[in-house]
């Protein structure tokens, strides 16, 4: 059977990481095509339901990335995100998600190369961890109810 | 010192400075130049008592000497009232031209040189190369031409000094000259386009650095051959000797066959004008030019 191709959901901020990802593009840096970017104004906007939801919808890993500390376009959004992340991290295992499936990183608008390698790392990590199926059951139930 | 100024004899005849080569190893050039001139009714008067221009040996080792040797020839021409001097050897003519330019540019150099050669030189002598000569008398030539060269494919090879240094010789385009082609066309020959027109053949190294001659001339010969030339037309004794006398050695060394006759423009002009081959010294080349049946 073909090698397992993980699906990665990336929540990134417009100002730093999204721009960094664009830079990777303009510099034609090749990287794993497994990532699906969801653009938000700021990492501060990230509600961690997003992450849970992503796993439920078949993501095998989630990447959260924004401006470096101190560089937030909104001065403090990324600090809030980081604070929430530290709390949320502990909840992950409780929610049945290996913490390794979620990666939190800083990528600035100038770090196209960093973005490319980051995506590759996360993809590799997810490959090793294998598909995330725990929530598929929930989906099936949900769909079952929908039918009824 | 002051010198007796002879009263110039008025005449329209053309001055002629053959130089050493044309009196010796390249005498066929001399012969053919004279033959063509005679055919055209043009009187060539050789500068009386001319001396060697010093050639590369001169300017290479003593520029002042080189300048003075040429200046003497100019001064003689002036005395003998020869305003335009046909100088078939490009090296000779370049030397005449640069000497004239140098003294014209710098009065101090001039007075020094005049002291040295014990003659005064007022300027006003113009040296022309053989292509210029043909170009000037193109009408006369064309009017006398029947079948001419009958489409003989000729690669026109200028070498270095016909067009270089441009500031001194001021003749045609230094990188891509076309005047010889025009003459050949007028002679009803067919100039072939080739890319080594102004490459160096090894020049004065014929004797002293044959290796260089083999190497440089090979490229020219092969290139002309590839361009489909039947002959290479030249207007320089050094080029002729290198390409002709060394051709056998080149074929031997590089295991190639060329068999390209190297003929003077004057010889081609002669042929086109229907002058007898013997009178053009065509038999005097290492690679002789075959008779072309109609």
């Amino acid at each position: 059977m073909a090698e397992f191709e993980p699906k990665i959901a990336a929540f990134v901020c417009t100002w730093c990481t999204y721009a960094g990802a664009d830079l990777a593009g303009t510099s034609r840096l090749q990287y794993a095509s497994n990532v699906r970017v969801i653009k938000l104004p700021c990492t501060g906007r990230i509600d961690f339901h997003f992450i849970i939801k992503a796993f439920e919808r078949g993501a095998d890993a989630v990447l959260v990335s924004g401006c470096h500390p101190g560089d937030c376009h909104y001065t403090a959004g990324n600090y809030h995100a980081r604070r929430r992340w530290t709390v949320f991290r502990k909840l992950l295992e409780f929610a049945g998600i290996e913490p390794d499936r979620v990666t939190f990183a800083w990528v600035s608008a100038a770090e196209g190369a960093k973005w490319a390698s980051l995506v590759n790392e996360v993809t590799e990590k997810a490959r090793k961890l294998g598909p995330f199926t725990r929530y598929q059951r929930l989906n099936e139930i949900a769909e079952g109810e929908a039918e009824r | 010192m002051t010198l007796p100024n002879q009263t110039p004899r008025s005449t329209c005849t053309l001055g002629y400075y053959p130089g050493c080569a044309l009196h010796g190893t390249s005498k066929e050039y001399d012969i053919s130049v004279r033959a063509v001139a005679a055919e055209l009714g043009q009187e060539l008067r050789e500068i009386e008592d001319w001396n060697c221009c010093g050639a590369s040996a001169g300017h290479s080792t003593n520029r002042k000497l080189a300048a003075c040797l040429s200046l003497r020839n100019l001064a003689l021409a002036r005395q003998q009232n020869l305003k335009t001097v046909l100088t078939p050897c490009p090296l000779c003519s370049k030397q005449l031209l640069s000497a004239a330019a140098e003294v014209a540019a710098n009065p101090q150099v001039r007075s020094e040189a005049e002291q040295t050669i014990e003659m005064s030189f007022g300027g006003g002598v113009r040296a022309i190369n053989y292509i210029q000569y043909c170009t000037d008398s193109l009408d006369a030539i064309s009017s006398r031409i029947g079948e001419g060269l009958r489409g003989l494919k000729a690669a026109c090879y200028y070498g270095c000094l016909l067009t270089r240094p441009p500031k001194v010789v001021q003749f045609d385009d230094a990188e891509h000259p076309t005047s010889m082609e025009n003459v050949v066309r007028a002679l009803k020959g067919e100039p072939v386009e080739f890319s080594c027109k102004t490459d160096c053949c090894g020049g004065g190294f014929t004797q002293s650095h044959p290796e260089a001659v083999l190497r440089l001339s090979r490229k020219i010969l092969e290139n002309a051959k590839a361009a489909g030339a039947e002959v290479i037309a030249v207007a320089c004794p050094m080029c002729q000797v290198n390409l002709d006398m060394r051709q056998a050695a080149i074929e031997k060394r590089y295991g190639i066959s060329l068999g390209l006759p190297i003929v003077y423009l004057s010889q081609l002009a002669g042929l086109a004008l229907g002058i007898d081959r013997k009178k053009l010294g065509l038999g005097l080349h290492f690679v002789s030019m075959p008779e072309r049946g109609a």
Partner: protein
């Protein structure tokens, strides 16, 4: 039921080469709510845009997804197109299948599949987009210019001459910046101060310009058109109102001529109370409290300086009566100003050429002996030597013994392009000023020998290369292609060990003086400053422009513009040009009384009574909001008594980061354009 149109751009070969656009179009056609799906060569072209407009009208589209380049490239283009076709611009979204797909993935199958996914996610989002109308905010037509060098002065004058108020802030006691230190300028060799000082005076005396020297920016808050800036006026210990600038105090100071003068790069001396240089504007002294005997004594004793009896000669010497202009008790003052636009023109710092100082971002150079040999100086020091107003009145005399150097070696690229030392960039101006230095030296010392070690000669610019050739051909500057390895002292001379890469030989020069063409660097506190202004900066801490080609004078933050060398190494003409360009941008902003902002702001929901709003009034959002946009709103009943206090977003202030949304416990705040519904829809479509 929404009617969505999907438009896939080939971008010539840029996308089509790796993404199978027709197939993507086919697959998109079957996505929920999609009624129209096409692919096209160049959607950003005129025909491309009209293709979209026509489709919107023809298929009565309620939403549009343009799959092409990054939204950062063309979002405005396509939203405008949508609007022209009568569709609310915020119902148009882009799927980035170029920068983040076709350009970064080689495999056609994978790239195509990813493109489909990205489009599906956007389709799901757009189905939930609502019509939004732009927010209008007033523009405060006062500009803040930070930095009083040539760039700052130029920008301030341009804006002020257009009739707007300008607040010009300079950290040093005088404006003028680096240009005031230069002797003559390339390639014209006209006197730097002669052309600068009139501008300095004009700026200081301009009715529309408020000048704050010896001052620094504390903080900047707010947003384009409506910033609020706090400026710290550092205590000068001199009452500028009273002081006439007579200079009596500077002569009276017991330390006069004993402290290295920053303006002369240590080659000249000053006192504790000093006027930085003769042409200073304003021409008023300040007291250097770190050096002043009285202040130091007071500090030691731990008493207020005005109670201290030490020295005070400056005050005694001050002829102003009855109240002296010297005011030891003066303290820093923080003033607040409201401005609509900001021009950052904070310039650069020159790397000394020596070992690193604490806090330097780069490793310095020990091999040139800058810290060890007084006769090894840097370019700016040479400028001071060559300057008529400098410590040697313009005579080239070496610092150690004041003798005229007969052989001077100029070393280019000291720091610059020295990756190991932490500089990867070219400082741009050194090639030119080194040629100028060699020239000036040869003009002043006719028998002297000028030897220049270089790696390249970079002289693009009007008359620049001609200038360099003049130094080499007419003034006999001997240019050696190669770096210098080390400089050591041999007797009274400096032994320069270099290389001549053209001949492949080692080179030795016995020099009397060495001039290092050292790198231009970002200010040591550039990153801190950038944060204050929310401007981005690169790895070398140069402030970054919004777009390297198309938006060279705008920062990442709307309303904050860049001028001069704070953005990267620049010469005078470039700095002035950029300053005027920045001023032009400010004037465009000031040309209208109010400006439109994207309505992507937060919104607290309102529901029918009795609930009024799901907001519980915990105000976690207020704590989270970095812009201070959350206000408290008391909801009253008919009788006018407060039913409950809920949060309200001041959409004029809200920057739309959405931090409040994530912070809200009751899920009562939405961020327009990025509502939970929209984001979850995207995730759903993963």
């Amino acid at each position: 039921m929404s009617r969505i149109g999907v438009f896939i751009c080939h971008c010539g070969e840029n996308i089509a080469a790796t993404v199978d656009c027709p197939r993507v179009a086919r697959e998109a056609a079957s996505m929920p709510g999609v009624v129209h799906s096409v692919d096209y060569e160049y959607l950003c072209s005129d025909p491309g845009q009209s293709l979209i407009k026509d489709a919107i009208r023809e298929h009565r589209l309620s939403g549009v997804v343009v799959a092409s380049c990054s939204p950062r490239m063309h979002e405005t283009t396509f939203r405008r197109a949508a609007a022209e076709a009568g569709l609310n611009p915020f119902r148009c979204e882009m799927a980035n299948i170029r920068e983040q797909c076709s350009w970064v993935h080689a495999d056609r199958e994978q790239a195509t599949r990813k493109a489909v996914d990205l489009i599906r996610m956007m389709v799901h989002k757009v189905a939930r987009n609502e019509s939004l109308c732009p927010i209008k905010v007033p523009v405060n037509k006062t500009a803040l210019v930070v930095g009083g060098g040539i760039a700052g002065i130029q920008a301030a004058l341009d804006i002020a001459n257009a009739g707007h108020r300008v607040i010009l802030v300079e950290r040093e006691p005088s404006i003028g910046g680096h240009m005031a230190q230069l002797s003559e300028t390339f390639p014209t060799l006209d006197c730097s101060q002669c052309i600068l000082t009139p501008r300095m005076v004009e700026a200081a005396s301009h009715p529309n310009i408020t000048l704050h020297v010896y001052s620094e920016i504390e903080s900047l808050t707010g947003f384009i058109g409506n910033f609020e800036v706090k400026i710290r006026n550092k205590a000068k210990s001199v009452d500028l109102g009273l002081c006439t600038g007579c200079g009596a105090c500077t002569l009276a100071c017991p330390l006069a001529g004993r402290i290295g003068n920053e303006f002369d790069r240590g080659l000249g001396k000053r006192g504790a109370v000093y006027i930085p240089f003769p042409q200073a504007v304003p021409h008023k002294p300040v007291i250097d409290r770190a050096k002043c005997l009285r202040f130091q004594a007071a500090q030691k004793k731990g008493i207020p300086v005005q109670d201290c009896s030490v020295c005070g000669k400056c005050a005694d010497a001050c002829p102003i009566a009855p109240r002296k202009a010297i005011d030891f008790s003066q303290e820093d003052v923080i003033i607040t100003e409201k401005v609509g636009a900001v021009v950052i023109a904070t310039g650069y710092e020159l790397y000394t050429g020596g070992r690193p100082r604490p806090g330097d971002r780069y490793a310095g150079c020990g091999e040139y002996g800058y810290d060890d040999y007084p006769d090894v100086i840097n370019g700016m020091q040479f400028e001071r030597l060559a300057s008529a107003s400098g410590p040697t009145q313009g005579r080239i005399l070496r610092p150690s013994d004041g003798l005229e150097p007969q052989t001077v070696v100029f070393v280019k690229c000291v720091g610059s392009r020295d990756n190991a030392k932490g500089f990867t960039y070219c400082s741009k101006v050194c090639c030119m000023y080194t040629a100028k230095h060699a020239m000036l030296y040869r003009h002043k010392v006719h028998a002297g020998r000028a030897i220049v070690f270089y790696m390249d000669v970079r002289s693009p610019g009007k008359g620049f290369d001609e200038f360099v050739r003049r130094a080499i051909e007419d003034d006999d500057a001997c240019y050696i292609r190669g770096r210098v390895s080390k400089i050591t002292r041999e007797g009274g001379k400096l032994l320069v060990q270099g290389a001549d890469t053209l001949s492949g030989e080692q080179v030795e020069v016995m020099a009397d003086m060495v001039v290092l063409a050292t790198a231009m660097t970002a200010r040591h506190d550039a990153d801190e400053l950038a944060r204050k202004f929310r401007a981005a900066y690169d790895k070398d801490c140069w402030l970054t422009e919004a777009h390297p080609k198309l938006r060279p004078v705008e920062s990442a933050t709307a309303g904050v513009f860049l001028a001069g060398a704070c953005q990267g190494p620049k010469d005078i003409p470039d700095s002035v040009a950029q300053a005027s360009a920045a001023a032009g941008k400010v004037l465009v902003l000031f040309s209208s009384d109010e400006l439109q902002r994207e309505p992507l702001v937060a919104r607290v929901n309102r529901t029918a009574p009795p609930q009024y709003s799901t907001c519980t009034g915990c105000f976690a959002c207020k704590a989270a909001c970095p812009a201070g946009a959350i206000e408290v709103e008391d909801i009253t009943d008919k009788a006018g008594n407060t039913v409950k206090s809920v949060a309200r977003v001041n959409e004029g202030v809200c920057q739309g980061c959405g931090t409040c949304v994530a912070a809200c416990r009751s899920g009562s705040i939405e961020l327009c354009g990025f509502t939970d519904e929209q984001v979850f829809a995207q995730i759903d479509a993963l």
